[in-house]
Amino acid sequence: MLLKLQHIQKSFINGRTKRAVLNDINMEISKGDYIAIMGRSGSGKSTLLNILGTLIPYDKGTMIYNNQKVTQLSFDQRSEFRKRHIGFVTQQFHLLHDRNVYENIKLPLNFMKLEKDKIKKEVNKVLEMLDLESFQKVSISKLSGGEQQRVAIGRAIVKKPDILLVDEPTGSLDEESEKSILDIFDMLHSQGTTIVIVTHNTAVSERCDKNYFLKGGKLSAPIIY
């Protein structure tokens, strides 16, 4: 068992009203899993993914990683956890527009204090894998949506994370780009990467081994293919 969520609760306070978004979430992620979390817009998919990625804290419950409790961590501890274990592809990519593709993919390695040669090797490997070699000197704003998505994936996998969290990878892509992106996930999965994808697109969930549904703040039992 890689990651386990037990009775996770999360609510947001908007002005004076408090709204529960996640209510008693239970979930298990094993090494090599290929998971899709489905749900309607506003159902809390991103919130759940952000909790998995320790980007936001939760109100109640327990999160267990590698059989160790990682209940409410401090700010810096969460950062450290993300750095070591989590690769995150956000809904809006969050690429840095003041530098080129190469520098964007390299960013996580900057925080890991690796040797220069090693960094170069890892980044080049990813560029090759994602077919981005010819783009490496191009600045982000000149790329298409699909290309930006690929850079975001590259940045997430360059440090070889234990879990790859992907938020809505096909939101604004045409069919062809969608297919090429999904092929990348298939390939990463075949290489043994643990992947959790949040989506409302069945074309995505079809490829995954386990499908969860999020509704009314609760997660359904997984459908395993």
Binding site: S46, R82, K83, N110, F111
Partner: protein, 429 residues
């Protein structure tokens, strides 16, 4: 990595950084200028104002500017003793202080003294050498002051000492005091041989004045003494033994009866002064003087002093306003900046950056700008405006520290205090 991120930060925020840099520089220069201005005002207040504000200063000149009149007076047998009596009356007056200053130059054989000390040099004239008895002399700027004058202007020695009462009694060697610029040329204890009003006098240097020592003289409220040799105005009590000595004493006393009468600035004291002056004149049977009355330049100084005093409050208000404005502006800019930059920091945090990395980055960002501004203001104040003082730099330093602290604390607090990294909402990409 830190340095690389720093460079990228300046690249993407070039305009705003330039603006902040200029803003802080202006702020610092403003504070520096105003501070040194107010500092100057306080300085004037303490020294000059005390000297001139409470006192009424009247000027007196002799009536023998015209050559004919002069000759008619000198040939009188008792002319010298009349002058002496008149002067002694002035000096010992009870209702006023009598100050006399003359700028009779002296002659020195030492030709190596730089021209700036030469008499007439400031007027742009070529310095003439003077030939007396086959010896070549250089005329040197000098002032003669009586004891009252030395006391009134509160002359202070930076090295050695200033005169005391005994120094105004005639003796073999004349104790002289040198202006600050003479430091490179003479030292305390040096003996000088000079010619003054054609008489040979042996002098000894007893002290150097503080730099920028100044007196009120020749319509100038700030007559600087740095390039001058100061001689005590000796009162020659004994009768002259020769024709030469008589002429020498006569010249001296004509210098000495031109001067200033200082009394307290109220009707009573001024009346008493007038009466005493009249009786001194009567006793000495000398009435060849003109009383110019209240010195117009002192009046002007007093007017200026009032204006400065009033404006000082205005300046303080302007200063405070501009401080507040600047602080608001700087805070506002750091807020805008934080909003712009939050996206980048959030991405760093998603990728595993620590708090300390963000804080260090924020600190360096503003530090370098403030440092550049500080150096610029140092240059402007020091080299362009030439008003730099250590105290001013300290003030600018305070501003710098303030800006850095507020930027870092304000920025990182906004950034890190919200536990939620709102990465999917309200982000402009």
């Amino acid at each position: 990595m830190l340095i690389k991120e720093l460079i990228l930060f300046y690249k993407r925020n070039l305009n705003i950084c330039l603006f902040v840099y200029i803003q802080i520089t202006i702020f610092m220069v403003l504070i520096g200028t105003f501070y040194s201005f107010i500092y100057d005002l306080d300085f004037e207040n303490s020294d000059m104002k005390k000297m001139y504000e409470d006192n009424a200063i009247y000027q007196m000149i002799d009536n023998y500017v015209d050559g004919n009149e002069f000759n008619k007076f000198v040939v009188q047998k008792d002319s010298l003793s009349k002058l002496k009596n008149f002067y002694n009356g002035l000096e010992n007056a009870e209702s006023f202080h009598y100050i006399t200053i003359a700028n009779q130059h002296l002659l020195i054989t030492d030709q190596s003294i730089p021209d700036k000390f030469a008499y007439g040099y400031a007027n742009g004239m070529e310095v003439p050498s003077v030939n007396v008895d086959n010896k070549v002399y250089k005329p040197i700027k000098s002032l003669q002051i009586n004891l009252n004058g030395a006391k009134f202007f509160n002359l202070k020695a930076a090295e050695g000492k200033v005169w005391n009462e005994e120094d105004f009694v005639i003796q073999n060697t004349m104790p002289i005091i040198l202006g600050d610029s003479y430091h490179d040329i003479y030292k305390v204890g040096d003996k000088l041989h000079i010619k003054y009003l054609e008489k040979d006098i042996n002098c000894i240097v007893i002290g150097f004045l503080e730099k920028n020592s100044k007196i009120f003289y020749q319509n100038n409220l700030e007559f600087y003494l740095d390039d001058y040799i100061l001689m005590p105005m000796w009162n020659y009590i004994m009768q002259p033994q020769s024709e030469f000595e008589a002429r020498y004493q006569m010249m001296n006393y004509f210098n000495m009866i031109n001067g200033y009468l200082v009394t307290k600035n109220n009707k009573n004291d001024i009346n008493r002064m007038m009466q005493e002056l009249e009786s001194i004149s009567k006793d000495a049977s000398f009435d060849g003087y003109t009383f110019i009355g209240y010195n117009p330049h002192v009046k002007k100084y007093q007017d200026i002093s009032v204006i400065l005093q009033e404006n000082k409050n205005l300046i303080k208000i302007i200063l405070t306003m501009s401080c507040i404005l600047n602080i608001i502006l700087i805070l506002f800019i750091s807020y805008l900046q934080y909003k712009n930059e939050r996206y980048y920091y959030n991405v760093f945090l998603i990728q595993g950056a620590k708090k300390s990395f963000i804080i260090t980055l924020k600190f360096l960002e503003i530090m370098l700008i403030v440092l550049a501004a500080f150096l610029t203001q140092l240059y402007i104040l020091n080299h362009l405006l030439k008003i730099g003082e250590f105290a001013t730099y300290i003030k600018a330093g305070y501003i710098g520290v303030f800006v850095i602290l507020s930027y870092v604390i304000f920025g990182t607090n906004l950034l890190l205090n919200n536990k939620e990294l709102k990465i999917d909402k309200e982000e402009e990409v």
